[in-house]
Amino acid sequence: MNTPQRQSWRPGGEELSDVKLEDLVSREGLLELVESVVDLFGIPIRVYSASNGLLADAAHDQEVCNYVNTFGSGRTLCGTTVSAAKSASPGETGSALHACFTGNSYRIVALEYETRNVGRLIIGPYLPAATVEVPLTLTAVEGVEPEKARVYLARMPRAKEDTIQRIADHFKRALDLIMFAGHKTFLTSQMHLAAVTESFREMQEKNRRLEEANTRLRELDRLKSNFLATVSHELRTPLTSIIGYSEMLSEGLAGDMNQEQREFVLTIREKGEQLLGLISGLLDLSKLESGTLSVKRKVVSVRSIADTALSTVAPNAKKKGVNLATNIASSVVDITVDPDRFRQVFINLLDNAIKFTPENGTITIVAKNIGMMESDGEDDDQDGFSLLTPVDPRIEIRILDTGIGIPQNERAKVFDAFYQVDSSSTREFGGTGLGLSIVKRLVEAHGGTVHVEGNEPQGTAFVVRIPASGMPPRGT
């Protein structure tokens, strides 16, 4: 199949108009077919392409031919006959007879594929079965001895015309089958190639569109973050004044107030601080999203961060009657993180834990060194430990509570901004739904991961893992 692929190839198109015999059938295959027929009938056969190239030749020299070729004029006559036979047309009927001066015959048969001419078959020379006399055209050749000519002629393969026609028909049918098989293979491979190319083009096109959409989304996201940052900043300034002045009012700096007035002002202040918290959260989040939050790393101990965070939330916990505890292994190595940001992680998680844990519950900070790479499973079994141990030692910090817990199907979603498992809880517990998304981004900014597990038998476990270096692990 060496037909070059044309650009506009299409199945059922014009590809057949220039289908060539030599493209559909290998020369070796053709020769084998020719030889099998020659073996069967002893009559020479040659196959020519539509452009007159010899494709297969299973002819052997006949004695009478060799004999006439020993004479000068015989040689000339023979040459003329053979070249005339080669270029003879099979005519309208597709089959023609060509006579040789020796009395032999050639049959020229058109080869077709799907009614198109693809070449010619030349059967012969053979001696027509009816021949009894040495023809005069042979004995007339100068030097030819009639006796010898008779002997050689008698050794020629003899055949009746209808036998020759049957041989031709048989050959054509066999060849047609082979061409069909070849054509089918040809089309299959063309089609395969075209289909693969087409699918590839399609996929490229889809990829390009996805990429465009992705770029657009990222741009929108950046705009949103910028917008949020600006807005939050602009909101914070007047809010600080509101809080400041209501503080001064409640402290009586502008004169005494009665009980009711003070209560109102305190409410203004409280709500103002809530609003400030929300705005700061938004600001942090937008900075984190736009990647403009600066992270100043220092080597610190996990314990020191845990302790300052605990002291921040302690009053809250006390008010709620919730116990705080730590369980930090002495082997836990120091981490290289931004202490302020990381304390924020602890505080956010602890705040939540306190919020969602009823009276007399316990909140525990557990920290240890781990070896396993990215195993978010519930238990750290040690399969493949040697393979999974990262180059950087990793620290795992768990914040455990005995509170209301988070259902399995909500565990991934709680990290989305503004997501709350039960928005009615806002009324009871307050909160903005930003805390955990800030935690996630802060942890990730330190090359770590955070996920939720259940704390058996009751409560929630937030699991933070970070490389001790506070840098993303190598190779990511």
Binding site: G12, G13, F180, K184, M191, E202
Partner: protein, 266 residues
């Protein structure tokens, strides 16, 4: 369509489209069995072990108008219906002159028929064509099965639709020739109108159909075959300029088994 003026040869390409397993390949096999040896080539099927078309099936038909006259080649191809072969369908569709949409009559296949038709439309669009550009005939196949869209229903839809509709039982060869000649008829009319084939190749619309009918060795009279179209008569001259608006209410007596009309000669 391809014209080889030197060889006085015209090749047209008809494509059988439709959802998976609607009977496209079966149509082609039946068409092969119903046409004469002299005019048909070998049926080539490029399919997987389980008889699902992988690339396409192809049945070449060829005959000469008269001695020394132009010769006509008709290539009938099927697409692979399975959804995954979308890009192959588009390739096969390239250069099509007419489409037989083989729908599955079963009620449960209604959505698949629709999806495949939309797929056809979007593939044509990718090739820069619209349904209006493409002579199309619809075949509702598998009439032998239970739970099928009723004939009345289909007749009703045929009246409202743009395409001639034929009913078929491709496994038994029923409706196969009807659909084929119906498609050939409207495809030829379109090609004739666009290419002045009569002038260039000496092939007139009036003679091509009877010629194809004769050379393909079909026994049923051509007029009978063409009379089977639902909704309106396929022999209606309006198909000779199918781009124009449809003349409303000009339908013939619809339905299989209706009295044969003298069709085929516009």
């Amino acid at each position: 369509m391809q014209i080889n003026f030197a060889a006085k040869e015209l090749t047209i390409k008809l494509v059988y489209y439709g959802p998976a397993l609607s009977g496209k390949t079966t149509n082609l096999k039946s068409l092969h069995a119903l046409t004469s040896k002299e005019a048909r080539g070998r049926l080539m099927t490029l399919e997987t072990k389980d008889d699902r078309t992988l690339f396409f099936d192809m049945l070449p038909l060829a005959f000469k108008a008269k001695d020394g006259g132009a010769s006509l080649r008709i290539k009938v191809l099927t697409v692979p219906g399975q959804v995954v072969h979308g890009s192959t369908r588009r390739l096969v569709l390239q250069g099509a002159d007419g489409i037989l949409f083989v729908a599955d009559s079963q009620v449960s296949e209604t959505e698949n028929n629709a999806a495949s038709f939309l797929d056809l439309r979007s593939n044509l669009k990718e090739l820069g064509l619209t349904m209006r550009d493409m002579p199309t005939v619809i075949q509702f196949n598998k009439r032998d099965l239970p739970n099928i869209r009723s004939q009345e229903e289909i007749e009703g839809m045929a009246k409202k639709g743009r395409e001639p509709i034929f009913l078929a039982r491709a496994v038994d060869g029923d409706g196969v020739l009807e659909s084929f000649f119906g498609l050939l008829k409207i495809t030829w009319s379109r090609l004739e109108a666009e290419n002045q084939l009569e002038r260039t190749l000496g092939l007139s619309a009036a003679e091509v159909l009877p010629l194809a009918h004769e050379k393909l060795g079909v026994e049923k009279p051509l007029s009978e075959l063409l009379s089977k179209s639902l909704g309106f008569a396929i022999s209606d001259p309006r198909f000779d300029a199918p781009r124009g608006p449809r003349v409303p209410g000009a339908g013939g007596i619809p339905g299989v088994g209706s009295a044969p009309r003298t069709g085929g000669k516009p």
